[in-house]
Symmetry: C2
Amino acid sequence: MSDSSHIAETYPESHYAVIFTSKRLDDSGVEYERAAERMIQLAAEQDGFLGVDSVRDRDRIGITVSYWRDAAAVRAWHDVAEHRNVQEIGRRLWYTEFAVRVCRVERSYSSVLPDTPESSG
Amino acid sequence: MSDSSHIAETYPESHYAVIFTSKRLDDSGVEYERAAERMIQLAAEQDGFLGVDSVRDRDRIGITVSYWRDAAAVRAWHDVAEHRNVQEIGRRLWYTEFAVRVCRVERSYSSVLPDTPESSG
């Protein structure tokens, strides 16, 4: 029903992506969901935040990619206290595996169907 | 039931990530699923392929991140004829939006719970 949801826009300038991949434990439930939503909200409040895409599937594997203006913005986000706390909880309670990759986006392209109502957004 | 599934391993050396983000049309069904699986299989056969993570959710948003040894391997994968054909079909039939980002992975870290059976893999 969330047809208004969009994927993050691409940016022509050089910028950064942080790829967070995880596999959750069976019993990571409502607390996890709340924390995941809160982290996306908190990221969006940071200086240098450009966008985020986050997908989780039935196999409990998730990929969240957040986009940042530069390496300094990535470091600042890494150091946000509330973010660090949640990372530590995740490491101990929610994930059987996770990986973080900090990447420089060298080029990008995107396409939106011309007859999609929100395509001009 | 696919508890044996693992997220892609990280690599200490500099390498590349291709982030493919998409939103599918309502009616992209079995053909799409087959093509998506085939593309992952085909990618894994290419020289320079390091790994892949792919997740799709109920909102029809998907993220696939493939990892490659270097920029040349990314270009070669981009030019594989069967891959190009499927991209073209996807553009016309399956996606309302998609984005591709080619990134250099500057640093990465990962963690696997010590008591996970396959953690030594």
